[in-house]
Amino acid sequence: MTSWRRLSPLIAAGVSLVAACGGGASLSPTVGPPESTAPESAAPTMAPMADICTNPPKAAGTTLTFASYGGAYQEAQRKGWLEPYAALTGVTFQESEDSSNATIKAQVEAGQVTWDIVDVGNDFGLDAQADILEPIDYTMVPKDEILDGFAGTYRVADITYGVVLGYNTEKTAGQVPEGWADFFDTTKFPGKRGFWDYSAGGIFEFALLADGVAPKDLYPLDLPRATTKLDTIKNDIVFWGSGAESQDLLGKGEVAMAMIWNGRAYSAKNIDKKPVAIQWNQQIVTADYFVVPKGTPNKDAAMAFIGWASCKENNAAPSKYIPYGPTNKLATADPSKVAELSVSNINDTTAYFDDTWVVENAQLLEDAYQEWKTR
């Protein structure tokens, strides 16, 4: 008893200090891949669909909260979708720039849902999250027009992008790495390598592609084979935690090559004016998704917005500002960006995530990853 009492002043001090030190930047989430869930039957086509695309329901007085990942990305979504939609319908948008799967879960569990539409990565919005998400209302969303595998029960892709091999052309001295095998060849291409510090972000997939596995044979992932391959360059790997960090590391040449999201490589080259190029071979095409947290009071208005933004007329609008998208097969991307889009560079080496497998095996992946990384 006495020892506990003697502890108390220290505990009180410690508690407040630990709280002060504990805050950290959240790692930037992802964007992601096609759904391997069985395709659902096409939604019944209803008359309102065409209406939603050109003449969405007026909803003056409604406030929708839109959560995404901030920065140039959210700015493109704002200019491409939120502002025109607000002008058309009278909806007022509130924005949050810190989309996070954990926040959605916390809001739903607490019964305090303040986000109506959330842009999430490919590792979220599957059946595993059935408890915390509203099913997408496909009477308002043109499911048939969305790329195959990118429209699920609880999510519909809003933007496609590629996880690609980016390289610093000064560091590779004019040579062009042809794919992930060259990424793992530090004799031919000296220098460090950047990988996203996340077990489900693509690191295992790229190691297997480098080792000769065909894109269609990636899953289930052969983790021992992947970690053996990763061991060959382990001391040269720099792990990055956010898109901005990857852009910076590759642009400054701290790494000669990096696994990077194609929009970040684009920004390094065109905005930072750095010697950065993309090798589209063996890219992984994936997507960000719209989800609607369960219990939002604005469910119908949220679905109407998602339906409108998914229409072929509107879906590609953000591509005017950032090289991401579209997800609607019939949408036309902005001519200035069309060559820079992941979906414009699909070839027979292109791979896709199997989101369902990845999410179901998240713990397995994480254990194998940490076991390899901290070894």
């Binding site: 008893m1 020892s3 009492r5 003697r6 502890l7 002043p9 220290l10 505990i11 001090a13 410690g14 508690v15 200090l17 630990v18 709280a19 002060a20 030190c21 504990g22 805050g23 950290g24 930047a25 959240s26 790692l27 989430p29 996070s100 799967n101 954990a102 879960k105 590792d123 999250q129 996340y198 489900a200 720099v238 792990f239 935690g241 400054k252 040449g253 701290e254 998240a362 713990q363 994480e366 254990d367 940490q370 076991e371 990384k373 901290t374 070894r375």
Partner: protein, 300 residues
């Protein structure tokens, strides 16, 4: 248990009709309620989650703990956590003791300046300081650019993503927690003691070692404990400045909670870290009178 004393306890008389507890103590209700609502309740929730929230249905309440200890990586990172905390405590002590000693022997005005210098880091956020270290330590950072440009080295020397980087970042943040308790205790040591030792023939170092050092030990122990316990919870600094070998358990907790939404295992790791931290405090309390050590802070 100690009795609650009346207000004028010093005089030994109970105040007439006075309350048992000082009325001013009622002011503590608010902070206590705050701590209860925002610290104690979440703590209980997290603890409960570790035995009720499972990734896969199970009848075993301790399944999460089983999962945690079954992974070699978890144990390795737990070991790392204690190793990095120990290392940063040693670094802080090596820097902090001489610093506090210096503060104690210089003129008050200089001591004030030294105090400001050690507190300066508190004026900017931990995150900003850590990013500043990145700018200094990275391969294209200030130090390496200078060394490369002046042809001292051909290749950037590894500073970032090393244990050295973590130590620099963490000790800068933690140093005040070492210096302040030591300084507070040193200030209470009567300078006449050392003079008396000298008078009795002790050479300066012997006077320091046999008289001053033992008297300053409560501060050393308090600072050591405080720094160590704080270091155990570090997260962003080792993530940004360290290598995978410096990974700390808080990083695993963040990944479980934010990326995998596996709040059960995240809670389990948090409870394990808390339990071990508590164990450190309990063991320490056998050797130190924590109340004295930390009470002394109030005088500084």
């Amino acid at each position: 248990m100690r009795q609650l004393r009346p207000v004028n306890a010093r005089s030994g008389r109970r105040s007439r009709e006075g309350p048992i507890v000082n009325r001013w103590a009622l002011l503590a209700i608010l902070p206590i309620a705050f701590l209860g609502a925002f610290f104690l309740v979440p703590l209980v929730v997290v603890s409960l989650r570790s035995v009720t929230d499972f990734a896969k249905p199970t009848g075993d309440a301790f399944a999460n703990y089983g999962r945690f200890f079954a992974s070699a990586a978890n144990l390795r990172v737990l070991g790392n956590t204690f190793w990095v905390a120990t290392l940063s405590t040693v670094v802080c002590l090596a820097l902090g003791y001489p610093y506090a000693y210096l503060m104690n022997i210089v003129r008050p005005r200089v001591a004030g300046l030294l105090l400001i210098a050690v507190l300066l880091p508190f004026w900017s956020s931990l995150l900003v300081r850590t990013y500043a270290w990145q700018v200094i330590l990275r391969d294209t950072g200030i130090i390496n650019t200078f060394l490369l440009d002046s042809k001292v080295v051909d290749e950037p020397i590894p500073l970032i993503r090393t244990t050295l980087g973590v130590m620099l970042g963490m000790s800068q943040i933690l140093l005040p927690f070492m210096v302040l308790p030591i300084y507070a205790v040193m200030r209470r040591i009567d300078p006449e003691y050392t003079k008396a030792a000298a008078n009795l023939g002790a050479p300066p170092f012997a006077a320091f070692r046999r008289v001053f050092l033992p008297l300053s030990l409560p501060g050393v122990l308090a600072g050591t404990l405080l720094v160590f316990v704080l270091a155990l919870g570090f997260y962003i600094t080792p993530a940004l400045l360290g290598s995978p070998k410096d990974t700390m358990i808080s990083q695993f907790i963040a990944s479980a909670v934010q990326q995998r939404l596996d709040w059960g295992i995240g809670s389990t790791m948090a409870v394990i870290l808390m339990g071990l931290t508590f164990a450190v405090l309990v063991i320490a309390s056998r050797f130190i009178r924590l109340r004295d050590a930390f009470g002394s802070l109030e005088e500084s």
